[in-house]
């Protein structure tokens, strides 16, 4: 528990991705089995205990600490778990602190009535950091800035096994991952993935530059639309059905409607969309269903999910990935014709004989839900990762508006001494008829290091107010903000939300009064 607590503590305070990777790799190298496997589980999919642990903790602390003092402390600290960890009297004394594996395994087999006594004993044995880590572990919210993917990347760095190989076996191994660690440390075979519905790392594309476009030979490539949803992999093997995100997270729970539509024996690659009466709904509608563990019946009706297929990876146990794209495409079409699954269709190919023709088609495409155009080499096998020269993504030129810098916030890590996160606004008429700025977006990229230094100096010299790490600045500086699209949003004061806003240009020359109005932005809404 001590090493795990130290790991979480350092991770929580370490902003840099590389430093986090080095801390994780150091832990995986040094920690014994099965401790490190449980730690990995906590950092990735989470460990779940079917016990009311939050309530048990609250009751325990109430029996040891004056409630008035606890409430005053809670108000000051701002976090219940941390307050319990810090306020627990005594602690860090007596018996040796428990091992992580002992804590997890004991709780998994404990009777509910034994739990309070067990927890109290552990809290007595641990120091403040250990208690904090224990409570984080039990309540299932680590929040130390480590994604499941980062943890798997650390496994790859530590072991030298490619990340895509680890992702491929990930859904066939279970906590405490002893088989996985044995394989990664060269002491065991690669875990068997054969007949299970496991994630196969996706093939990704490169953004195409204009000059590259001219060198594309239309004979070697096919074109298809890139739909504006999220890329997914749908698998149904060995009786298991699963839907995976691009990074291998299992998102089946949120999309039962499409999951139950996946026929047996297949692994498919496609775009997850919300489709009503054959029309692709705006991305915002899909957003409503993402990032949830489960979904309500009403939501299933009002926001029906759909998969538009790009590729087929496995068919009845046969691995199709080594085949050229055009052969896979033929298999995909044949498969789809045979099964005709509900909620699943195929993204059609676009005929073209020259790049000029394709450009004209692309410029004329007004159908909603199209995010870009894909160019795929006819003979490419399906290769995990982002191999060069196979798939290209051609995105539409972004939309832009001129907005006024309103607030700046300090960045993190290497940028912690700079005001590098900017909130910008557009003009509208205020209640008194005077023009006022309303925030429309926030961005922290798109500028060079040199420009960052200039922006930082501007913020410091034009601050009119400050709130903790945030400074409000004079309405003076105009940004040309580029973004992919804009949507209605009830969560924002302005009523709009941009997708991927970035600082395209800093308009040092442009007077703030001449920046765009909110109506201009609203006119760009696509839904």
């Amino acid at each position: 528990m001590k090493a795990f607590a130290e790991l979480l503590d350092r991770l929580a305070y370490t902003p840099s991705r590389n430093d986090k990777l080095s801390l994780l790799a150091g832990y995986f190298a040094a920690a014994p089995d099965p401790d490190r496997g449980y730690a990995l589980a906590a950092l990735t999919d989470g460990l779940f205990f079917r016990l009311p642990l939050r309530r048990i903790l609250t009751d325990l602390v109430a029996s040891r600490v004056d409630p008035v003092l606890f409430d005053l402390s809670r108000d000051y600290v701002g976090d219940t778990a941390e307050t319990i960890a810090l306020i627990w009297p005594g602690g860090g004394k007596g018996a040796e602190p428990p091992q992580l594996a002992a804590v997890v395994e004991t709780l998994q087999s404990a009777l509910p009535m034994e739990v309070p006594r067990l927890l109290a004993a552990w809290l007595d044995q641990l120091d403040a950091t250990g208690r904090w880590a224990l409570i984080k572990l039990l309540t299932g919210a680590l929040r130390v800035g480590v994604s499941a993917r980062l943890a798997k990347t650390a496994l790859a760095e530590w072991s030298g096994v490619p990340l895509s190989d680890i992702e491929e076996v990930w859904h066939c191994v279970d906590p405490p991952y002893q088989a996985l660690f044995a394989w990664l440390s060269g002491k065991g075979p690669r875990p068997e993935t054969g007949a299970r519905a496991t994630f196969r790392p996706l093939m990704l594309s490169h953004q195409i530059e204009d000059r590259e476009l001219q060198s594309i030979d239309p004979k070697d490539f096919v074109a298809e639309w890139k739909w504006d949803g999220v890329r997914v992999q749908a698998a149904h093997q060995g009786g298991e059905r699963r839907l995976f995100s691009r990074t291998g997270d299992d998102i089946s729970g949120a999309f039962p409607d499409v999951v139950e539509a996946i026929p047996e024996g297949v692994v498919l690659d496609g775009e997850l969309l919300v489709v009503r009466d054959g029309e692709v709904a705006p991305f915002n509608d899909l957003q409503q269903r993402l990032n949830r563990k489960t979904v309500t019946g009403a939501m299933l009706k009002s926001h029906p999910a759909h998969i538009r297929l790009y590729d087929i990876l496995f068919d009845r146990g046969e691995d199709l990935r080594p085949l050229p794209f055009i052969q896979r495409r033929a298999r995909l079409e044949a498969w789809h014709a045979m099964h005709a699954p509900r909620r699943i269709d195929i993204s059609s190919l676009i005929d073209f004989s020259s790049i000029a023709e394709l450009e004209a088609l692309w410029a004329g495409a007004r159908e909603t839900g199209i995010e870009g155009l894909m160019l795929k080499r006819r003979l490419s096998p399906y290769i995990a990762g982002r191999p060069k020269g196979h798939w290209y993504k051609w995105k539409r030129a972004p939309l832009t508006i001129d907005a006024v810098l309103m607030y700046a916030q300090r960045g993190s890590g290497k940028r912690s001494s700079y005001y590098s996160d900017y909130t910008f606004g557009a003009w509208r008429d205020g209640e008194n008829g005077e023009p006022e700025l309303v925030p429309v977006g926030k961005s922290y990229f798109g500028f060079t290091d040199e420009e960052l230094r200039e922006l930082d100096a501007f913020v410091r010299n034009h601050t009119v107010d400050s709130f903790g790490p945030v400074r409000q600045v004079e309405a003076k500086l105009v940004f040309e903000v580029a973004f992919d699209s804009v949507h209605r949003s009830s969560r924002h004061k302005s009523g709009v939300a941009m997708r991927f806003p970035r600082i395209n240009r800093i308009r040092w020359d442009k007077p703030a009064e001449e920046a765009d109005r909110l109506e201009t932005l609203k006119a760009m809404i696509v839904d």
């Binding site: 305070y13 003092l69 005053l72 000051y76 290497k414």
Partner: protein, 337 residues
Amino acid sequence: MKPGLFETWLTVDRKGLYCRPGGFHIDPYGGAKRAVITHGHSDHARPGHDHVLATQETLAVMTSRLGTPAKRGAQAAVYGEKLKVGDVSVTLFPAGHVLGSAQVLIEWKGARVVISGDYKRSADPTCPSFELVPCDLFVTEATFALPVFQHGNAREEVAKLLRSRERFPERAHVVGVYGLGKCQRVIALLREQGYERPIYLHGALAECCALYESFGVRLGDLKSATGATREELKGEIVLAPPSAIADRWSRRMPDPVTAFASGWMRIRARARQQGVELPLVISDHADWRELTATIEETGAEEVWVTHGREDALLHHIQTTGRRGRALALIGREDEDQ
């Protein structure tokens, strides 16, 4: 004025806490005729008093910070020496907070009052340890008066800093420290653990360090960080005021690890707000256990709480059957920054 009714002779006016039979204020705000100063921090030792009584070290700090400790006369007191001031006698005792810090014992007609100033009970190689003074009324600080504040061993925190330095030998460790007290304590703790390399200082810290050395506190090899090159600072420890650690000043450092030595670092949100990567829980103030234990040990039946989180401490005092009172003193800040 009755000795047992403390409010009748110890009052709070616009300048702060005032002892009527003695005719002096303690740590007053704005110019006072007579002032007893507990220690040199700027929210306790203010300019503009006519007469000041304090330890020799505190007077030296005031001279260094303010030019002069008093407009008319400064009197140096030795710890434990009983002095007559007006109708009362005044004795200063070590408070263990910073160099020269003192508790003020006032005796009048058989009543004993101790004003703690800021204090801590844990060991500090740069100043004499807190001395317990039994009394009837104890006036205590409350900076860290919540049971979540339990400062650990400062030596372990300094060891953590040294381990981090070994782990990241290419990076500078920039440690935020309060200029008077914390800075010198961190240096002395590093030296205790055998760290003999030069320690680099932000310009604002040099004068206080020189002052400590003039009183015989050995701090070893100190260098100015201002002229040092980026290459030179790789793997080194640099001390700076908290306001400088994550600001423009620190950009000259090679990929700095931002550390901060303060009791507030026990609270994660406080550390994160300030962009601290390596929080070091080192405090010059009493933590919850020290505050409550000291109240108990003084034997005081009445306790007044000056500045900090007085709600929690007053609640505790009442549950132990003592009389408690909050003193609303102006001008006191969240200390230990």
